[in-house]
Symmetry: C2
Subunit: 299 residues, 2 copies
């Protein structure tokens, strides 16, 4: 796939995502009071993240030969879940971050109580959006909701946040422990994005879903290792957030365990494994390029 | 129904609820780190509330001639949602309550970060439990998940919490505004409990579901008015929480608008309307007694 076609496709996926997010969270059916809540939700939804997770839903749907119109609900749903986790992560009792992507974080803009409630509303709305979707069959919707709830919950992303909190108090975190934390905290949502895309296309054999999930876990891990590296090699301008925060917080990362060079090698090796898994999908050229791009990203 | 049969039935519904809650949130499949999270979730789930919402799910299922084994997943789900809302409500940035039913609130027992995450996990797990249930059909599960997500979300319970927050800053809240807040904050979850019970029994005609929802909204409103009255007429011992808190916080309630006597009349009148709606259900003797009991409760 030539670069301009890739960029075109990427923009198309993001445009679909943002259109669906807007239509799912508008002001039509609300009183003035809920307006503030919906504004707080939209403020964080529109903060302009990379939209990697919905892009993966669309891309896996197309890689399995599906029509992307089938993937709109799960794509919007996963971005809402991701946004809910960022809003709650930034709270004073959690990471206490005043800024998110250069803008005041949700609780700085709307107050702490409203940020808690905006996160709560974004944790629940996705399940309604999938249940109400008209493009998917009841069986597809049930399968997606079941997997999404597991990926988010106590043995998924939220469990990963707890592992992360407990690791922060330790200086002896090992490689397997760090991988386990990343797998839960970010891997589960990325893996389920890939899996949901396949299900939207009607490709739900155990082999296909397992390849998609494994690709997602590997992509998620490579993504985190690159994050660890950029935190020491990038600049605050290029990264859009303060660098050196891991060291300041005494966090164990792939860089503290292995150093930058070896961490880069590990990220490259995991990316190669992810590439191999893409051989299970026919229309994989977009996904191959996306994988390469995420390895070489500068922010 | 004689009182001993009613009590037997009530205990049976609660036993089913607690058994299902235990089996849905056990330690089997978790690492040591998630153990703390699951402990925090169970701490609040086991805090011993009235279990009114799951009891309504079971009772409406039976009132429609359904087998109560069908209602186990939605009954556990609604109690988890209720518990999640209490955990987040008690947080310092929200109502800042150190105690809940005489025990330290979740954030006092487990810390604020863990309480936020325990609430988050309890907001998501219910949708997975319903999706994974084997007693209900895919169509029943989709209908239940869609209604539950709406009842919880920005135009349901969470929207009601926002209205409540905004009302607290005003001294001119009117009767319709107060009713609207109660309808969202507590009415929606109670109404959807009744509706889900009917759907579990396969009774899903618009007439039946509308009667069940209307009953739930009325029961919820009467319940809130009684709460307003008990806050000024009860004792801290009988109520199990400090009385006089509404006055202390300058809250507008049915008592501040109408006084105790007139508020009691309104609660009785709404309870009578709820009773009339129960005529739409054949096996309604348990529900009639429950309705009466909630009107005359002392805590």
């Amino acid at each position: 796939m030539i670069m301009s076609d890739f960029n075109e496709k990427f923009k198309e996926y993001i445009a679909y995502t943002e259109e669906k997010l807007r239509s799912c969270n508008c002001h039509d059916d609300s009183s003035a009071a809920q307006k503030d809540l919906i504004d707080a939700m939209n403020y964080s939804l529109e903060a302009g993240g990379k939209r990697i997770r919905p892009v993966l839903v669309y891309a896996f749907c197309e890689a399995c030969g599906g029509d992307i119109s089938k993937a709109a609900a799960p794509a919007a749903a996963i971005e809402m879940i991701h946004t809910f986790s960022l809003i709650h992560d930034d709270l004073p009792a959690m990471d206490n971050d005043d800024f998110r992507r250069g803008k005041p974080s949700c609780h700085k803009a709307y107050g702490e109580a409203m940020a808690i409630l905006a996160g709560d509303a974004l944790s629940v709305l996705p399940f309604g959006i999938i249940a109400d979707d008209t493009a998917l069959s009841p069986d597809q919707k049930i399968s997606i909701i079941s997997r999404l709830a597991k990926a988010v919950g106590r043995n998924g992303m939220i469990g990963g946040q707890v592992i992360d909190m407990e690791n922060e108090e330790r200086s002896d975190v090992t490689d397997p422990e760090l991988r386990n934390m990343y797998r839960h905290k970010t891997g589960e949502l990325i893996a389920v994005s890939c899996v949901m895309g396949c299900i939207c296309a009607g490709a739900d054999s155990p082999e296909v879903l397992s390849a998609a999930a494994d690709y997602g876990y590997k992509l998620g891990l490579a993504f985190q290792i690159i994050d660890d590296i950029l935190d020491v090699t990038s600049t605050t301008e290029a990264l859009g957030k303060p660098v050196g925060s891991d060291e300041e917080e005494n966090k164990t990362t792939f860089v503290t365990i292995y150093g930058v060079e070896k961490a880069q090698e590990i990220a490259e090796s995991i990316t190669s494994e992810a590439m191999l898994l893409l051989e299970n999908f026919e229309n994989n050229s977009f996904l191959r390029q996306l994988t390469e791009l995420l390895l070489n990203r500068k922010n």
